[in-house]
């Protein structure tokens, strides 16, 4: 079986989770409708790293007994180390728009809404931004509406911000001091030029940008085996599409 793009993205996210330069990820929470981040977290766990995973939408054995309120209270205390966020629009300062385009509250295209982003982005030591669609309509110079800001004024309580932005085309890292993204790796078939063309915001790029590595054979075996086993109940369509596995009736 050839490597699926989703498998490469999960492996790329897993490497970011394990980045030794980043604060430790002892407890990771994953929100709704996030199969690739969930796969990345399970990959880290099944690779033998002792990380606690709290998957908000797991039906059987849900980790919370007080629903999402408990997730936010845990995060408020600083007990969630890493969270994933996306956005209908993401700009070059890592501002997230989950509300909609046009005038508030989304008179152009209305997105579902901000969920917990306006809290989680501040209170989690690190956030990995993930959005498969990499286009100038998603990655914009300036978001129309800010659900959650990428950086804050001095004095505003904030534990962290974006560590990286992973898309279907590349991986960017984020420097909160400069409030800018830097191109970190290119998925197969992409060039710095093709990324510039598909990206609405300006970003930095080193002289040589490496390729995003393929998942290793061990990672692929874990993804298609034990990771898929854990995900079948919550994400049956994803598992069928990516891993060609169906939940037993």
């Amino acid at each position: 079986m050839s490597i699926q793009p989703e498998e490469r993205l999960a492996a790329a996210l897993a490497r970011l989770i394990l980045d030794p330069a980043a604060p430790p990820a002892r407890h990771i929470a994953v929100g709704a409708a996030s199969p690739i981040p969930a796969a990345a977290c399970w990959l880290v766990r099944k690779s033998g790293h002792p990380v606690r995973l709290s998957l908000l939408h797991k039906r059987s054995g849900n980790p919370f007994t007080e629903g999402s309120r408990e997730l936010f209270d845990l995060t408020g205390q600083g007990r969630i180390d890493l969270f994933f966020l996306g956005g209908g629009q993401i700009d070059g300062q890592a501002n997230l728009n989950l509300v909609g385009t046009g005038e508030w509250p989304g008179t152009g295209v209305r997105f579902p809404g901000s969920f917990g982003s306006a809290f989680m982005y501040f209170m989690t030591p690190r956030t990995i931004l993930f959005r498969e669609e990499h286009s100038a309509r998603v990655l914009v110079p300036r978001v129309d509406n800010i659900s959650a800001p990428g950086v804050s004024e001095p004095g505003v309580f904030r534990r962290g911000t974006a560590q990286a932005l992973v898309t279907g085309k590349c991986v960017f890292t984020f420097d909160p001091g400069a409030a800018r993204f830097t191109l970190a790796s290119l998925h197969p078939g992409e060039t710095v030029e093709s990324i510039r063309e598909a990206t609405g915001f300006d970003f930095d790029a080193p002289a040589e940008v490496p390729q995003t590595p393929d998942p290793t054979p061990d990672e692929l075996a874990l993804l298609r085996g034990p990771v898929c086993d854990e995900m079948l109940e919550t994400y049956p369509d994803f598992c069928a599409r990516v891993f060609s596995r169906k939940l037993a009736a």
Partner: protein, 274 residues
């Protein structure tokens, strides 16, 4: 005799602030259908902390004037079509929040205090569009620590669907204990349940932690599959095929009306589906 769902819907007045949990946390979809049948108007919905299928139904049926929520979505079935249409048409007022803000406003109401602080939010356009929220300087710090204050929010009525209710009026909602906060904070709680059970669940140590005490429950009606098409704990799963069918039909006003006729107004057929 326990009351019927429709008789309870008649007790929810037009204009009420109605709290609904999200699709994964036991909303009474049966009560939403009953409110549509009774022709409720100008409801103000509170998503605790987000909104789903029941909210889109109520909005599409013209029952809603205002929504306060952190998101409205049909999950895997995509954006909520009737909500989106109503927002575009200016038919509803939408007050966007963020999930922990809604939990916090309910926690303030639960404690009977006028407000509670919450971290985050500063620099977000959510805050910029909430004149009812404010930023103060943390009075316990030496200065220079801005923090948001949120007012207590007390719903007029919360609509929840539990697995069972007992003779003492307690309702069992299992691990979804965030419903306890919602119930404690609301003036009234109307619950639907799958079944009635004899006795008092609070006398059973294993059931008691998953109970909402009858202290907070005003009325209970039996509505089998009353959360359908959303999931109810380990009783039944999310009916993804039905919600996808809804999402298709509700793309147009005519399709939505057909959906209501088939699944909401046609009570015998709706009952069969439930």
């Amino acid at each position: 005799m326990t009351p019927t769902v429709d008789s309870l819907a008649a007790s929810v007045p037009d204009g009420a602030l109605v709290a609904l949990p999200p699709d994964n946390s036991l909303p009474s979809v049966a009560m939403a259908r009953a409110l549509i049948r009774r022709g409720a108007r100008n409801l103000r919905l509170l998503g605790v902390p987000v909104s789903g299928f029941a909210t889109d139904l109520l909005v599409g049926a013209g029952c809603v004037a205002e929504i306060e929520t952190s998101a409205v979505s049909l999950g895997e079935a995509g954006f909520a079509p009737r909500f989106t249409q109503a927002l575009k048409a200016g038919a509803i007022t939408v007050r966007d929040a963020t999930c922990p803000a809604i939990h916090t406003m309910l926690q303030a109401a639960e404690k009977g205090v006028p407000f509670m602080p919450l971290r985050g939010l500063i620099g977000s356009d959510i805050l910029a569009h909430r004149p009812d929220w404010m930023v103060i300087d943390n009075p316990f710090a030496g200065g220079g620590d801005p923090i948001v204050l949120l007012p207590a929010r007390q719903p007029d009525v919360a609509l929840i669907h539990g697995v069972m209710a007992d003779e003492a009026g307690n309702v069992w909602t299992g691990r979804r204990r965030e419903l306890a906060t919602l119930s404690h904070a609301s003036k009234r709680v109307i619950a639907t349940v799958e079944r009635m059970v004899p006795g008092d669940m609070l006398e059973d140590e294993r059931l008691a932690p998953g109970c909402i005490s009858g202290t907070y429950i005003e009325a209970v009606a039996v509505a089998e599959r009353g959360a359908w098409p959303v999931a109810l704990l380990d009783e039944y799963g999310f009916d993804a095929a039905h919600v996808a069918e809804y999402a298709r039909m509700a793309k147009t006003e005519a399709g939505f009306r057909e959906y209501l006729d088939r699944y909401v107004f046609n009570v015998s057929q709706a009952k069969a589906a439930e």
